[in-house]
Each structure stands twice: as structure tokens, then as C-alpha cells.
Symmetry: C2
Subunit: 702 residues, 2 copies
Amino acid sequence: MTLNEFGSSNGKTVLVTGGAGYIGSHTVVELIENGYDCVIVDNLSNSSYESVARLEVLTKHHIPFYHADLCDHEKLETVFKENKIDSVIHFAGLKAVGESTQIPLKYYHNNILGTLVLLELMQKYDVEKFVFSSSATVYGDATRFPDMIPIPEECPLGPTNPYGNTKYTIEKILNDLYNSQTDLWKFAILRYFNPIGAHPSGLIGEDPLGIPNNLLPYMAQVAVGRREKLNIFGNDYETRDGTPIRDYIHVVDLAKGHIAALKYLDNHENKNKTGICREWNLGSGKGSTVFEVYRAFCDACGEDIPYEVTGRRAGDVLNLTAKPDRAKEELQWQTELDVEVACRDLWKWTTDNPFGYQLNGIESTFASPENKYNARFVTIGAGSKFQATLANLGATIVDMKVDGQSVVIGYKDEAGYNCGPSSCYIGATIGRYANRIAHGKFQMNGEKYNLTINNGVNTNHGGLGSFHIKRFLGPLVKNPSKGVYTAEYMLIDKDQDTEFPGDLEVDVLYTLNVEEKSLKIEYHATVDGKATPLNMTNHTYFNLNKVNNPYITGTELQVINDRSIDVDENTIPTGKIITREIKTFKDEQATILGPQEPKYDHCYVVDEHKVPAGPDTIKDGTLTVVARAYHPESKIGLEVSTTEPSYQVYTADWLEAGYLPRQGFAVEPGRYVDAVNDERYKRCVTLNPGETFGSEIVFRFY
Amino acid sequence: MTLNEFGSSNGKTVLVTGGAGYIGSHTVVELIENGYDCVIVDNLSNSSYESVARLEVLTKHHIPFYHADLCDHEKLETVFKENKIDSVIHFAGLKAVGESTQIPLKYYHNNILGTLVLLELMQKYDVEKFVFSSSATVYGDATRFPDMIPIPEECPLGPTNPYGNTKYTIEKILNDLYNSQTDLWKFAILRYFNPIGAHPSGLIGEDPLGIPNNLLPYMAQVAVGRREKLNIFGNDYETRDGTPIRDYIHVVDLAKGHIAALKYLDNHENKNKTGICREWNLGSGKGSTVFEVYRAFCDACGEDIPYEVTGRRAGDVLNLTAKPDRAKEELQWQTELDVEVACRDLWKWTTDNPFGYQLNGIESTFASPENKYNARFVTIGAGSKFQATLANLGATIVDMKVDGQSVVIGYKDEAGYNCGPSSCYIGATIGRYANRIAHGKFQMNGEKYNLTINNGVNTNHGGLGSFHIKRFLGPLVKNPSKGVYTAEYMLIDKDQDTEFPGDLEVDVLYTLNVEEKSLKIEYHATVDGKATPLNMTNHTYFNLNKVNNPYITGTELQVINDRSIDVDENTIPTGKIITREIKTFKDEQATILGPQEPKYDHCYVVDEHKVPAGPDTIKDGTLTVVARAYHPESKIGLEVSTTEPSYQVYTADWLEAGYLPRQGFAVEPGRYVDAVNDERYKRCVTLNPGETFGSEIVFRFY
């Protein structure tokens, strides 16, 4: 998949209701790829916000999310007030045929009222384009008429269950509303056949809460051992193998059908002075039996999963195969992916995410008073002997707990981290330029840059609005093997956003290993347009004895060596590397931190004879232990390793912003102080277009 | 119409949604006649509470009313909490076909959500019987099928407008809900054809707000001059005269169809262990063209009203005539009244109420903090030079205004009137026995009765819970001719309710004449079961100079004569009639009331030689002026006339309950003090079954 590059938005914002769900999330990907901005509204009744966090990483776009029920007029109105909506794609709705026969009132109430409130607000806010997620279920049993298979849009409707009745009613509402103002409304009614498969990235897919109601997700759960066997509802239909025939359509094809419909409405808007209300089948035109799909899926997953044929299910009909000609002709859309591809993609999604978006050991909480969904704290390894809590803001380490004991300082919500000039970067990702740039000045490819001065005469830890106060995209959270969790944050930092040149894309990948009690941080970045200086680190303040004492007093700190960058009274490097008189790791003796002394705020050099050749120290360097710390009272030890050539050690003697001096110490691996202004070091902090930046830090506890 | 006698309720309470509306109100009459109790919920969006007030008088039953929108779950739940509902008849809904094509969202939202909330609450409160007001509109154009006129219930549905779609959808909801629990739900879906006509009493009928959407009310408004001419929408249909054919059904027949359906559900409940969901046409089976109905109506009103043929109306179909066989067979119901009767009844309703329930010069306000609808103050003659404000509680005179100036005392809401033992009966209707009964004892037909003593050793102004704190039914308010207003209140006071014998039915009829500045009060009553003592009056306290002085000081009071009933120290009559030394009307000289003296609290006799022969002084007596009063400062005069043989004059020297002594004076015509215990007078205060009680008082201002 080729994503649009930044800034190629067509300026149109699409409100996607139910955008966290199966079809909704896949459609958001296609919308963004096609230049639309998306706002998602979802009540998460049958979906997870995780899908939206993953969409942000997958699409590299911020996606505003509202946790709202469409029936809640007031909440939904906020969405229209806060965003300039151009069109609406309406997926939200209860959709289980079987359940709908048990609790029909809930289906009618939710699906119909939700749509009415949405349309009322569209009317109020002058939004006229609407793509509706209908269903082939509205046709009911099309075999009751002669020559109606494959089913054309003209087939008389006759749904046979409450779910289908709600879709049918909404179609009527749309027709009636259109007829009340035929010059105004532009409605596309899309009658889906059977959506299956998943995004080829394996990042998003179908993740039904509870027992799946559809064939494919059920088979997938059987294949990964979550369910015992597949139930096949009836093999006594009049078909080639006795099982009912459906028109299965890859969800990515289906998603693309929405873009085709939306563009059709856009064009219609431009060309005509009238509105439109029209139905299109979205199907392949090719029917498959349940057994045929079963076969394809077994081929994809490499084993024959157990199944049992049980009785027919209420509301099921013999054959629902689309006549897709109208969509092909008018929308220039047709399916491109077949059942086999869908089964392969489903199997990738299933094996990558055997429990869908529901991961044990992951917890999310809101980190802003307004419960903004992308202002979250995500804990990975939750409930285990080692866990880390991370924030979108600054891709910050909010907390780490070793055997249940917190060993770092951090705030309880975003307000703490957003404390302005007195910010101490607590736990945050630092960029674009960690540590000082002398006088805030540098040159890159002959161009001179001036950054905002924020530290004496220098710029420290990035320019204006640096990474620690940026809201990162994601995270994409995974549990790739037992006891290992990853959380990937992404930041798109465009040219001059933070006073630096070039469009930068940064990935921050946290990997937590419970058994090893280690948290690995990887920074990866590429730049587009112009070269940029880049030097990243993490600014966690540790207090290994925090459970007993808010101060670091008594911590035994060992630093790998005593060679350090010499600086003048303005903390500008003199160009020399000097020896500092401290006990080092090499002595096998630790420095014991007292209440006031010794004070550390020096940049140590791992090996003064070995300067990285380029911006990727992961590729070019080796992982070296640079510091250890231990506290005899808590008996917790820390080892810091990195691929970076230097590391600042800081005993927090100027800590403020809600904390007091010496309530933590920081070990900040990175590149040499002011390297961008020193020809010996400049290459390794210069990222050119086409290059990759890499750096790795590991915090391991013992 | 024969109404059930009191106490013949079958114990079942029916919640009638939209019960203030056209079909709803007529059905309430039939329900009560058939022994059901009714609770009405209505949002009054297209109806008036006046219809409910009239229903109370017409049915002689209290009808709890909730001003609530069905979409308001919380408010509607109150109804279910406060009443033991046995079944629901659901009329509420927007119903104008033409309007529905203009504002379809409102129709879907209101009609469908209202029904869903109602059904959700029925589910929660275990109410399972439901009669739904559907419409023949669900069939759409039945002529599109061969042999479907007259239309049977099996005719495929296909509504052609949003209104019909909402009815169709609700039918689907009911079917789906029934199918989810077939042992539980009992649903009757009644598909109305065209309801016309009105109740033969002329008290209730169709009263559309705004321009009528239906043929008959439109014709009626043309006939009384409210509209210029009738529009006939198309005379080019393929019918005998070119106008569309409809099956018109008298609204009383239609109402009876609901009783038939409800009884069918009741019986089904008793006989079967299963539920039911079934549709019945309610129609006559006889189609009439628009021109035929036009002819019948012109015959009824005696003139050919003007009409114009205009184009066809969107959504209209050729022919909607019912096949009514299923209802006849299963519900034992069929129409009994034809179009001619309906037109006559409509004409009576129209001529009695040319502006329906909307009367100029009538204003209502709530008189209780909870905004209970039958706790109302109704002002008749509002905005004119003479007006009276009346309350349901005690059928009380709350205020009278002469040329804009209030001349009586009264409270601002019911709380004032409900002040318990210290009540001073301000403005109230007094009964069953005005004035004193010695020692609270009397005999009637050989039986001895003891009343609660409330005044020294006597019972004054009725027994426990006497009329002044009873909530009267109604009022039925009319404007029979220019400047004349009537308000009729009714009270059903059953045997022993107020410690008196016999089931008493009392009417209090106020007639206000603006030009004459007079308020006439008529009391009419009958008793059932046992004979009762009866003596009624009104206890208004006048202060003709209230606008200038809260005290009656300076009032020139003239009393017709000086002969008065002598009483002992316990205010028990001695049996003598004595002369009191006061200046009388005969002297043409008034007594001037001072700040403290003279004190009046005497019962004067109109003519000691002329005792009424029976309980009806209107029939047997003559209207005589008994007192006059005038205040030179306000220049307002009062003349009190009555058909009664005596009148208490009271200068309020013991007034309390928020007022002070001598803030008003009362002239209370009635029958002799303790007459029930004096054989000379007892006959005129004895009401036997089969007799009528009558009495009249007129307050006229000059």
C-alpha cells in the first residue's frame, strides 16, 4: 500500500460512524489514502479503540475520535460543532441477525434512532452527502422471485429478520428524506454482501466481542483454538453441496467501494444541481457455499479445522449473490480480491492477533480531563512482575514497576506533563535534538537555522514545541510472544513544526520483556525534503528506592567510564574530552549518592576513539552497558545499555515542576553535546533524505 | 348513550396514548362505558387538554392525565410507576400524510421512537397487551394488485408516503417483538380506514390545529366560515365521479372496534398460553367518493359549501376500501353508523364548537406545583371587562375582576385552599350541607347519621372532606354566544365519601355574561341509592374596594330585609324568626361597614311565609335580589340574587388562613340553618332518588 505523503489532504473531512469497527476501520484506511481526513464516532459497543490507535500508525495520520452513541444528540452535536464535516459514512449499528431476533427493540432503537439523530444533525449543519451501510439482507429470500439470482438492485425488498428490517427502514427514511428535498440530499445506499478478510498489513481486522456471528471470524477462532469447532447451520439447502450460497467480498474491496461511492457523490455535487438517492450492491457477483469457504480457509491456515453441521438458523436464506453491474458501471468499482486472498489475509490477521484487539497484560486509562481518546496512558505488562506505563504525549514513560514497585517519577495525567517553560521532560522522548545546541544555531547544507533559546544561551532538548509535548500517533500495541509486549508510537514532525528542516517521521518502539525485566526503546526515523539534525533520547528520572524514600539518597551509581565532554561556563563544549574524578564501573565500586552531593550533569563518552559513521547506531554500533545503579534498601538494580556513543548523567539538581531536586536521576544516552556544530561529530547527527536514523536504549532491572 | 353507573369498573386500567386526540378521546368514552379505567398520556402537539376535561364531565370519571411525550423515557416511566397498567392503546403519533412528505425525519423520530420507548417500558413493567393504531395507508395503492379491492389484511403492504412508512415500520416492530417471545405478547394491529364524524353529544370531535388535512374537518371549517372553500385533490381518478374512493367510518364505530380488540386480547389471555400478534381492518366495507361525502355533508349542514377541484395530492391513491370480514368474524365487530349519521354528528360538533376546543376569552393555568392537569384555574371572559377565575378544587371562585379590578379574595394556587382545619372556604362550593347541622346529627328515612363536629358543637359546611376540598371533574367550558361563557364542573360524591348517605352527582354550572357583568351559579344534583340532605352555596368573600384597601371598611351594605333565624349560644336555631336591628335595602339606606362594626353572621330569611316545597328552587322558586353592596371609593356595586329561601351574611370577623378579619364579606344564599332537623324545613333540604336538586345564585356588578 502506498500512503499519501503528508499534506496531500483534499481538504474534505468525512465523519465515519462506527469507524472503529470492522468495515469502518478498513474504510478509514482507504479514505486517508484517497486524501480525505477522517473523524470517527463510535460507541465501542462491539469494537475497540485499539483499532483506531492502530489506524493512526498505519495511516500516519491523527484521527479524531469521539466515544459517543449516535442516539445521544447532545454528544453527537459536539462532533459537528468541532469539525467541519463534508460528508458522512454511516457504519454504526447493531448487526447480528441472530441476536436481532432475540432483542428486536434494541435493534430498532439503536439503529433507527442513531440514524435519525445523525440525519437531523446533518440537516442542521448543512452536511448533505451520506453513504449508508445497508445490507443485502434487505432483499430477504430473493429466490422467492423467478430470475432474481444474482440479485439486482431492482429486486423487491423483503427482509426476514429484525436486523434486516432496521436496514430496510433506514433505506426508506433516506428515500423519504431525499424526496422531501430532492435538490439537496446526496445519498448512496450500499448493500453489502458478505464482507470477509482483513487488511494485508495484519494490523486491523474483524474482532467481534463475544461469540462471532459470522462464518469467517468463527472459523478463525476455531483455527487458533479459541473455539472447539465450527457450526455449519444446515447442509440441506438446494445448492451444489447443501450449504447456503453467499457472495463473499474482501473487506478491502468493500472499503474501496465506499470511496467510489463518495467520489460519485462528490462528482454529482459538482456536476448537477440536483440531489440523488441511489442504491448499489457491493458484491463480487460470484457465490460461494459455506463448504467452499471452509475449504479455502483450511488451505490458508494449513489444517482442516473441525466442524459440525447443525440445524438451519432462523432468518437465513438460500442464496444471496449480487448482481454487481450497477456499481461497476456507475461507480467504476468492482472487486479485485478473491476468497482465497481474503482467507490468507484473515489468517495473517488471526495469527498476528489471535485475540484480536483484546490483549492480556494491556491496560488503558484516560490521561486528560476531557477523556480524549488519544490522550491515553497504556500499560504494557500490566499485572506482571515488570510493567511500563506509556503516554501518547511525548511517547513518555509515565511509570515502570518492578515487582509492583514504581521506580521512576511521573505525573498522574497530561496536565503535569504540559507544565510549560518549567517542564523537566520527565520520562519524555526528547527530540529533534537532545542535549544542547550552542546559541541555538546550526547550519545544514549551507542553510543557517536559529532555534528558540530555552536554556541559558543555548537551546536544550529541541526547539519550540519539541517532541516531549507532541501527541504521538498510536500506539500500536502487540504481544508477539509470551511475556513480551511492544508499543509503537509514531510522530510526523513536518518541516519547521519544531523549527527544524525537513519532514521527519519518527517511530518510537518500546519492547517490554517481563522475564528479563527490561524495557527496550528503539528510535527510528526518516526525513523527507531536507536534511535535519537528529539526536534522540529518553528522559526518565529513576528513583530505585521510591517506595521507601522520595529522594535518591543512598543510590549506588556506577558509570562505565570517566571520560566526559568538557564544557565552558555556558555549558558549551570546549572541544576537549576530560576525565572527571568519580568512582567508575571499571573500579567495580559505586558512587553513593548523598542528599546533595555528588552532583552529576555531564555527558560521558563511551569510546572517544570511536565516533559513529552515520545516523543509525543500531545498524553500525553495538549495545554497550553504560551505567548501573542499585539501592540497598529496595534491593532493586538498574542497568542502562545503549548503541549511542555518549550519555548524559544527571542527578536532577535543578528538578522542579512539582518535584524537588534529587528526587530522581537520569541516564540519557544520545549523541555528543552540540555535535551539530562540531565537524568531528556532525555526520552522526545529520539525517539526510534516503537515510535511516536508529538508536537503542535498554533499561534492565535486577 | 348509557354510561355505567359508579363502581362498575372492571378493575383494569388502560393506558391511552394520544387520548386527548380525535380517535383517542372517543375511545376513552367507550372504554369507560365498558368498565375500564383510563390513564391518558398526550404531548398535546395536535390536541387540547380541553377534550380531557370534557371527557371527565361526559364520562363522569376522573381521568388521570400526563402531559408527556412518549420519546421522553423518564417522564413516561412515571406513568407506569404511578399506575397499575393492564394494557395499552397506542394512538399517539403524527398523522398528516402531506406534512410527512415535507418533514419525514420528524415523523420517523416521533412515531417510531415513541412506540419503542412505550414498548420498552411495557416490557419492563410486565404489560403485555397492546392495541396499535395503524392505518390502511400501510397498504399503499392496493389497486396495483388484481382483486385486492376491498382490501383484505393479507394484501401485500406498500405504503407510499413517510407517514405510512412509520405505521408500516411499527407493524414490523410489533411482529418482530412478538416473534422474540411468542408466549408473551398480545398485539392487536388495527388498520383504520377513514374515521369521520364526532360524538353525538357534541362535546368531543376532531379539532385539528392549523389547516385540517382531512376532508371532513376541512368541509366543516368551510361550512362555519373559517375557510373559504374546499379543495378537492383531483377529479381525474378512475372512479364513478373521478374523485378517490375511501372507506369512511364513524369515529364512534371505530372507538368500539378498539374495545372489541381489547376484549379479544383479554379473552385470548384467559384462554391461551400463547401470545398473539394480528392485524384487523377497521372499516365499513363500503367505499364513498369525495363527492359523495361532500353531498352528505352539505345535506347535513343545509347548504352547498363552495369547493374547487385542484391537482392530485402526493401520496394519495385511488381506492382504499376495507374488506372488514376478519374483524366481524373474530372481533364480533362491525360498523353500525353510516356516512350520513357521521355528517350529522360532525355538524352538531361543529355548530356547538365552531372553533373546536380553541375558545377566545378562556385561559388556563396550573394551580399545583406539580402542574397536574386537573389542578387548574380556568378564567372565563379573560381579557374582557368582566372575568371570573375558577378552580377544579372545590369548583371554587378564585377571582372575579370588574373592569380589570379584583373584587374578591383568593389564593394564588391550590396550596392556599388546602389549608386544613383553619380553612375559611374562601370562594368555594359548599356541600353537601351548607351552614350548620346541630351537633352533627340528623335522621334520614329512619336512619341516624353522625357527622364529624368541626364548629363548636356543630358540623358546619359539610362533613369530613366536604366539597370545598374535592377535586371536581371538568370543567366543560363553552362560549354559547358572544360575551357569554359557561364552565360546568361535576362531582361524584359517593355514599359515605363525606359521611352523607347516597351516591350524589352534583353539577356546578357557572355562566358569565360580560355585558351584564354577572356570574350565575347553578347547582344541580341527583342522588342514587339513598336520600340525602343537601344544601349548597358559594362562599365568596367580596371586597369591592380591594384595589384600594385590603379591608372592607366603607362598604355600603344593603340587605333585603331584617328577618333572621334566631340561634342560641351554640349557634343552634331556637326555632324563632326574629328581627335584627339593621338598616335594610327596603329603607333604601345602606349600612356602612366600619373597621370593626357592625358584625354580621346571621341567616336572613327571604320570605318567612314561603318555604320551598321541594329540593329544586330553580323550578319552584323565583330569582330575588337579596343584597346589594357598593363602595364609593372604587365605585363598584354588587347585587346578589338567588332562588334560595335564606342567605347568610357574614362580615368575616373570624377570617384567618392567610387573611385577617374583615378583609371580605360573604353573602351565602342557601336553605335554613339546621333545616334537616326542623320538620318545617326538612323537605326542602331532602333529596330523594328520582328527584332533582336545583338552586341558583347570581352575582351581578354595576
